[in-house]
């Protein structure tokens, strides 16, 4: 057995996935310490939204920054795929449907204020509203599993040329290039979450390492819950558990655990919309075959369909902030009183519409198989 085969076998094992989850938890907790926003060491939804803002796709001033972690994930996964001969350019499996799923996934995630990774990191920081989000996520994924069992399928992808598989990694490089050169058309927050970040080099290295490990181990938060519901398979879930455990331990050691329900960092305490927002995101992730992190890693493997989903997330981020759909966090006003944030009327309508649209897509995209 070659060294490469040995490594592949390890990464496919329980130990491999626990190592990847633990390292993501460690990286995220340290990134928080080194400047990233609280309980947001890594959030694929928030960071993609920040990139959309930096590119001017939306004009929400507090959330504009070219987060190097996101291109790092794609390029780290590309590196792993090339090293282990898993770069497989492909595409053509219902791309427009995947774009729409990406849009709704982002709208749902921004009603909760985070992707599943951030839900776990919020929990590891003591934010108990994360439990509501995770319950919603599980409910949405359960809906996706029911659709899959009834024959829902986006159809087969086709192999394509290497150049097609390199488009998304190329865009990731371009984002990094802009992050380094800071041309005048790139926007950057002066205040708010977008202004909080670790040094570029640290964020990039963290992104590359996480991307590399996650590509090898197939780390996926949506898959963790889906596999448990669908097949009582807790393989991916053990990685998720390791993420929470390590992030919690590091937060505890750094004195960054703050247990509570209201006025948690960049979070709101509206129970219903935390739940429904994540339910929409979970349904869209399950229907697209991966959590937002996993979609980025698949981009690195040359999966153009995952790339379309990521572009949909960028579009969803623009819609969420341009149309006032994203939630606002709880805050404490000057008098010291709690002002509960949450999702406004537009956002509530968008989440409900998104749920209905995804279910309609799910029923419409069924095929009969033995």
């Amino acid at each position: 057995m070659s060294a490469r085969e040995g490594l592949t076998r390890f990464f496919a094992s329980r130990g491999g996935i626990v190592l990847a989850g633990g390292l993501i938890g460690l990286a995220a907790a340290l990134l928080q310490k080194l400047g990233n926003p609280a309980n947001m060491g890594v959030c694929v939804a928030c960071f993609t939204r920040d990139i959309a803002g930096a590119l001017g796709l939306h004009r929400a001033a507090p959330v504009q920054y070219l987060r190097p972690e996101i291109p790092g994930f794609v390029l780290g996964a590309l590196l792993a795929a090339l090293l282990f001969r898993e770069f497989r350019p492909r595409g053509g499996s219902a791309p427009v449907v995947r774009f729409v799923l990406g849009v709704f996934a982002m709208i749902g995630a921004l009603a909760f204020l985070g992707c599943p990774w951030r839900a776990l990191l919020r929990l590891a920081g003591g934010d108990l509203t994360a439990l509501i989000g995770l319950a919603g996520l599980a409910a949405g994924i359960a809906g996706g599993v029911a659709l899959l069992r009834s024959g829902y399928s986006l159809g087969r992808s086709q192999p394509t040329r290497a150049a097609a598989g390199l488009v998304l990694p190329g865009l990731a490089l371009l984002v990094l290039f802009f992050a380094l050169l800071k041309p005048g058309f790139i926007l950057a927050s002066a205040a708010g979450p977008g202004s909080l970040h670790a040094a570029l080099g640290i964020s990039l290295v963290a992104g590359l390492v996480v991307g590399l490990l996650a590509q090898r181990t197939r780390f996926c938060t949506m898959g963790a819950i889906r596999d448990l519901l669908m097949a009582r398979d807790a393989h991916l879930l053990s990685g998720v558990a390791a993420l929470v455990a390590v992030a919690f331990a590091v937060n505890l050691a750094l004195g960054r655990v703050n247990v509570g329900f209201a006025a948690m960092p960049i979070a709101h305490s509206q129970v219903l919309w935390n739940f429904l927002g994540m339910a929409l995101a979970g349904l869209a992730f399950a229907m697209a075959g991966g959590c937002p992190g996993r979609q980025l890693f698949l981009c690195g493997e040359g999966d153009g369909d995952a790339g379309v989903f990521v572009l949909g997330m960028l579009g969803g981020a623009a819609a969420a902030h341009n149309f006032g759909l994203a939630a606002s966090p709880d805050r404490i006003d000057e008098a010291g009183a709690l002002v509960v944030g949450g999702v406004g009327a537009n956002g509530q309508a968008a989440v409900v519409f998104g749920l209905l649209a995804c279910v309609a897509i799910g029923f419409a995209m069924r095929e009969r198989w033995k």
Binding site: E86, R149, P159, R218, M230, D233
Partner: protein, 71 residues
Amino acid sequence: METIDARGLSCPEPVLRARRAMQRLAPGDEVAVLVDNATSRENVLRAARSLACDARVEPLEGGFRLIARRR
């Protein structure tokens, strides 16, 4: 022997289809599953273990053929 062609399908459809076929097997019977990526290979192998099947992997043009036999 039944063959499930799961090439080109995205996660979790290959493992879902493979599980259904493996669950229908009588002891000693086999099913072949064609996949085009390593993730699906690992997922189907894990499903086989959990469903009391012995699985072997053969290379295939652009992927793998997994043959699962019910113990």
